[in-house]
């Protein structure tokens, strides 16, 4: 089991209580100067099960058009056709930023990939995606939180003061980041006018309640970080990350993530969530409901890259969903819950320009349960590779603590630039 690090405990002790709160406000930021050097990781969770056969159309598969019918994306070159990746796969035409990154050698596309989960419940599927086990129950913490405990210290922005190293860009922390290691949360919705005196009194009131005092000190510290980020980016606190002017929610959330990660002492790891992928009816093809969602995701990823700016070369962004959708269109011009799907790894640190897919084909006989794309790659092989090559987590904790019982899922290699 991961243990709370001594640094986190001492920081909590330091911040608990009104006096400490006041003291922390007077310490100059220069003490926490960013030393640079370490890798950045952003995990984007697409909740609701993205249709991988729409996001990464396998236009070269002879059965694709017949199964996906009006939802299929045409071959590159045709009107509204796919953006070519190679002779078999393309990207949905809404994913122009991702395609640009592919051409620049910064995007790896995974296909016929799935978590170990083989049933079709969103909620269990998301649990498996996030808990890092082969089954939906069995632990209350997430694999990324367990990885935090094994992350090398020092060199990174947080190494000097033992601050929280991961942030969830939401009011609350999703399962993937829950656990013993301290993490913070920050939604794009600003909390502009909380009275300092009230906060000090609350810190006092919470002094005998560890649960509340830990959260309050985290919240106060994160507010300061966001203030700093707003100063750096030249935005007022009221507008920083508030979502105003951003074309969609994903972009607002991505912007918040990049601001925090760029701030002094900011986190190295961020988790973003986007929902709305459960396209059971009227999914649409090159245009329509899913196309609009994908365009929002694409713009969000671009906002993230733009926002991270000089950090982008050190960044890997992992985009994952709980499972894929049925190969055939259902009776309501949509798709039902499936199994194999796609995932993306994009960023300046990524050795991109590759499609990793041991393609099982969409022949009737090749489909899982006569309906789903058969997975040939375990998502944990991707997660492990990112933790190993990018975040430099040692092999032993990855195998024993982060992904127990995963010996069958060997880490991929060569996903990150040397």
């Amino acid at each position: 089991m991961p243990r709370p690090s001594p640094m986190n405990s001492s920081r909590r002790r330091f911040l608990i209580g009104a006096g400490a709160l006041a003291a922390s406000a007077t310490i100059p930021n220069a003490l926490f100067a960013y030393t640079g050097g370490s890798s950045r990781l952003v995990v984007v969770i697409l909740r609701g099960a993205l249709d991988g056969l729409a996001a990464v159309p396998p236009y070269g598969d002879p059965d694709y058009a017949g199964l996906h019918r009006e939802l299929a994306i045409a071959a590159p070159g045709a009107p509204d056709g796919a953006l070519a990746l190679n002779n078999t796969f393309g990207l949905h035409p809404s994913l122009s930023f991702l395609h640009e990154r592919f051409s620049a050698g910064e995007l790896v596309v995974f296909d016929a990939v799935a978590s170990p989960y083989r049933d079709r419940s969103h909620f269990d599927g998301q649990n498996v995606l996030e808990n890092g086990l082969a089954k939906p129950i069995g632990t209350a913490d997430g694999w990324l939180n367990r990885a935090l405990a094994a992350l090398p210290r020092g060199g990174g922005p947080a190494g000097g003061r033992g601050g929280d190293r991961a942030v969830a860009i939401s009011q609350n922390v999703p399962l993937i980041l829950r656990g013993e290691a301290a993490v913070i949360s920050k939604s794009p919705q600003a909390t502009p006018d909380v009275d300092e005196d009230l906060l000090a009194r609350l810190a006092d009131l919470y002094s005998k309640d560890d649960w509340f005092s830990a959260r309050l000190s985290d919240a106060v510290q994160t507010e300061k970080m966001a203030d700093g980020a707003a100063d750096v980016s030249g935005m007022s606190k009221q507008t920083a990350g508030a979502g105003a002017g951003y074309p969609n929610r994903v972009a607002a959330v991505a912007r918040m993530a990049s601001e925090l990660m760029r701030s002094d002492g900011g986190p190295e790891i961020a988790v973003i969530e986007a929902s709305g992928w459960d396209t059971h009816a009227n999914q649409g093809g090159a245009k329509g409901i899913l196309a609009t969602r994908l365009a929002g995701l694409d713009q969000g990823l671009k906002s993230l890259a733009d926002g991270l700016g000089p950090l982008w070369p050190k960044t890997a962004v992992l985009v994952v969903t709980e499972f894929g959708r049925t190969a055939a269109v259902n009776g309501t011009r949509g798709t039902d819950h499936g199994t194999g799907g796609c995932a993306f790894l994009v960023g300046g640190a990524v050795r991109g320009g590759q499609v990793i897919a041991d393609w099982p084909s969409l022949r009737r006989t090749a489909l899982l349960d006569n309906r789903d794309l058969r997975p040939t790659l375990d998502l944990r092989s991707v997660f492990k590779a990112v933790l190993d090559e990018h975040m430099h987590v040692a092999a032993k904790p990855i195998a024993n603590r982060v992904f127990p019982d995963s010996s069958g899922a060997r880490p991929l290699q060569g996903l990150i630039r040397a």
């Binding site: 005998k208 919240a219 009816a281 009776g331």
Partner: protein, 473 residues
């Protein structure tokens, strides 16, 4: 502490006088509330769902006409889009306001909490187009009349409510062998598209509603069913639809549940090893009746009730007691609730739930003895606190464990909201009296000290609302 537990944990938080009313017989105070339907506690003129639905359809038709009239997006199209929003937004706002007022004022707060519990169990999300104006209708029309009745009646009313049918896409789920599908294939040309160039629609099922009934409403995800059962159940409920429509689809009362026989997959079907030979609509109803008496369902419902009322990790003894009452009574809900009240685990003073934003807002309204007058007050509050009413996003509903609500950023939003509430509702009541009336014996000495030392009465209210004892139930 028993009165505090009854009022704070089982109810919606204490209004002045609630703790006194429950003190003598806390259990009897709870049991007296679960007799008969549970209408809204306020007299609110909410439109019925068929009327809301008809308004929405009319607005959509209007937009369609405008689209056809002008090839490009014209200012008229924008007007038409606003007309669609106008068709459902006022209903959403009115429903949200009525819900908050009812929570603030009801004298049956335990029954009201049960309504909220079932509304979340049978969740629809108002952020899906057509559902926006209908989510509150589902709660008021399908849940309130049956919350103290039999589970099977509650289940059937919910699955046949237009909000649920639309939310989980069942209205156009078509049996491949249905009259409509056979008619279409007989007259279909060989080409793969119709004369507008759009690919022809392939008739078939949509398994969304069937899967979620099994996974989320009855058996639970490990309830022993397989993909074949999901597919079969989806075929069984083909035809469960909404009245209205045009041309060959015209039929039924617009906006009300309507069984479309011509979309229904005919013939007997096997589900969970049993062959159902009923005809038409009755086949699905027979399945629901069987699902409602299965031990997996009893266990799933009991687990959720115990998690909601007692602890994030449901004590197995309490789950077992409630599940047995469910099975023994054939899903008679008052007997199920009574078993919950009789479980010793319910009265453990150390088992306290961290409030959801909904719990927090409603218990604040009751503590301050105020009822919101405008929907915007309620909507803004829930937007800020991250639980916009009727929008859990997924059919699983809002999560019911503290881990899903206890982020540091969420806490900061609660502080902000509490400080605004404090500034807005200066009650004139001594803060320590407010604490006594709303928390009773749960109020800790250090909280009372902090209230006495507060700089302003507004700050005292904020401190009370943010005290650990007020944040838990």
């Amino acid at each position: 502490m028993q009165a505090e537990i009854a009022v704070l944990r089982f109810g919606l938080g204490a209004k002045p006088g609630d703790l006194a009313a429950a003190t003598a017989e806390p259990r009897a105070w709870l049991l007296s509330q679960i007799k008969g339907p549970v209408p809204l506690a306020v007299n609110s003129p909410l439109a019925p769902s068929d009327q809301i639905f008809a308004g929405l359809v009319a607005a959509r038709d209007e937009r369609q006409k405008m689209k056809q009239a002008s090839a490009t997006e014209s200012p008229d199209a924008k007007v038409a889009f606003n007309a669609i929003r106008e068709a459902y937004q006022p209903h959403y706002r009115a429903q949200v306001l009525a819900r908050a007022q009812s929570a603030a004022l009801t004298m049956r707060p335990f029954a009201e909490r049960l309504v909220h519990f079932w509304s979340n169990h049978f969740a629809v999300s108002a952020d899906k187009g057509v559902v926006c104006g209908l989510a509150g209708s589902l709660e008021n029309e399908a849940i309130r009349p049956h919350v103290t009745g039999r589970f099977v009646d509650l289940l059937t009313a919910v699955e046949q409510h237009p909000a649920m049918i639309a939310f989980l896409d069942n209205q156009y789920s078509v049996g491949a062998d249905s009259t409509a599908a056979r008619f279409a294939s007989r007259f279909a040309s060989r080409s793969n598209s119709d004369d507008t160039g759009k690919p022809k629609r392939q008739f078939g099922i949509n398994e969304n509603l069937a899967r979620e009934i099994l996974e989320l409403h009855t058996l639970g995800v490990n309830g022993g069913y397989h993909q074949a059962d999901v597919t079969s159940f989806a075929q069984i409920i083909t035809g469960w639809s909404i009245g209205g429509g045009k041309g060959r689809l015209a039929g039924g009362v617009p906006g009300r549940f309507y069984f479309r026989d011509n979309l229904h997959e005919p013939g007997p079907k096997v589900f969970l090893g049993k062959t159902y030979t009923e005809q038409g609509q009755r086949q699905g109803e027979a399945v629901l009746a069987d699902l409602a008496r299965r031990p997996e369902t009893a266990n799933f419902i009991a687990t959720k009730l115990v998690r909601h009322f007692i602890a994030d990790d449901p004590p197995p003894a309490a789950v077992d007691r409630v599940a047995r009452a469910f099975l023994k009574s054939g899903g008679d809900l008052p007997q199920v609730y009574a078993a919950l009240i009789e479980s010793p685990e319910s009265w453990d003073v150390n088992a306290r739930k961290f409030k959801t934003p909904e719990d927090f807002v409603f218990s604040t309204l009751r503590a301050l003895n105020v009822s919101p007058a405008q929907p915007e007050e309620v909507i803004r509050s829930f937007d800020l606190l991250g639980q916009r009413q009727y929008t859990p996003g997924s059919p699983a509903g809002w999560p019911d464990t503290s881990k899903s609500w206890d982020g540091s950023d969420a806490l900061m939003h609660r502080v902000l909201w509490a400080s605004r509430v404090g500034a807005r509702y200066e009650s004139g009541v001594e803060p320590t009296d407010l604490a006594a009336a709303s928390l009773g014996a749960y109020a800790r000495p250090e909280t009372l000290t902090a209230l006495r030392r507060a700089a302003t009465s507004a700050q005292a209210v904020a401190l009370l609302l943010m005290s650990p004892e007020f944040q838990r139930r």
